[in-house]
Symmetry: C2
């Protein structure tokens, strides 16, 4: 079996923080915004997770204080050791591919619903993913492809667009199929 093991435990959050700081010094507040804007669809994170992580990274010498600003603002920059740490992470041959997908998990159990309810579930999924597709296409237009990091982000977004296109089409095509499957199960009882 290709997955079942190694779902996390690789501490991606800390490496993502280091990777973000590799571009330019930032505060915890700024980093939080990056997570919930540019990175929200691959790795969301809240400030409540970021601030403690920054403390740890500082203590371990992977980042250092860069400066202070108004309202207690503190910016951090990456140290040489921190850069080394991200590089090692990037070269590790074990990115986690296993992911939990609640919307797909539910599909397994649609036979417990009425056929019309199952159809409605799939229809909503299709609708949702079409909406996200539109959103991604819009964001894609607005990425300034200057720094390599932005070009890589655009590259990931291209996959995101493909993904949303694919899953919305699958959900659309599967909507009547699901209804029939569930109806077939009821009849035979």
């Amino acid at each position: 079996m290709l997955s079942a093991d190694r779902l996390s435990g690789t501490m991606s959050l800390r490496h993502a923080v280091l990777g973000i700081l590799a571009r330019e010094p930032m505060s915890g507040y700024d980093i939080t915004k990056v997570f919930n804007q540019a990175m929200v669809d691959v790795w969301p994170a809240r400030h409540t997770q970021i601030y403690p992580e920054l403390s740890k990274l500082l203590q371990e010498g992977l980042i250092e204080l860069d400066g202070k600003g108004p309202r207690g603002r503190k910016t951090y920059r990456l140290t040489e050791a921190g850069l080394e740490e991200v590089r090692i992470w990037l070269l590790r041959p074990d990115p986690a591919h296993g992911q939990r997908h609640e919307a797909l998990l539910r599909v397994y159990f649609l036979w417990l619903l009425e056929p019309a309810e199952a159809r409605e579930y799939m229809r909503r999924e299709a609708e949702y993913h079409r909406a996200v597709l539109g959103l991604y296409e819009h964001i894609y237009e607005t990425i300034p492809p200057s720094h390599p990091a932005e070009k890589l982000r655009a590259m990931v977004l291209e996959w995101g667009i493909e993904y949303e296109r694919g899953i919305s089409e699958w959900a659309e095509q599967s909507t009547p199929v699901a209804e029939k499957i569930v109806a077939g199960g009821k009849k035979r009882r």
Copy 2:
């Protein structure tokens, strides 16, 4: 923003357990196998999580003891209340779509590597997903489409095949692109 909130907190594990028991009475050991075979790519789970959950479900009257077998084997069956609980979950309009994807997260930071290393990363991703695609195609052939649950599983697998095909193609096409992006970044410094 379409995600950022509601990543979990919907307690999918317990509902998945109930959904599995909806088909037929089973032991914790059997349920674990289902999670790590049929459901491993949408919701993996270990026995260490299942046994305590079964205790809770039993206490809450959502399942009940069905029988005992050799080696202390205990099978459970779904109660009416348990079936109701899964149905309510399936009809809730909020399946979590946000997911953490470490392999894609790393792509954002490939500019911190040498161009050849970045290329190698993407090449490996393509390779990995082509392998999973082959695996899924093989599994797809071997699903006996008798019970509606199996037909729904086949439907989900169809998406899985599409997904792996799409992402492996994307990774393949992006391999030279990533290398160029990273090389471009080095030059300009």
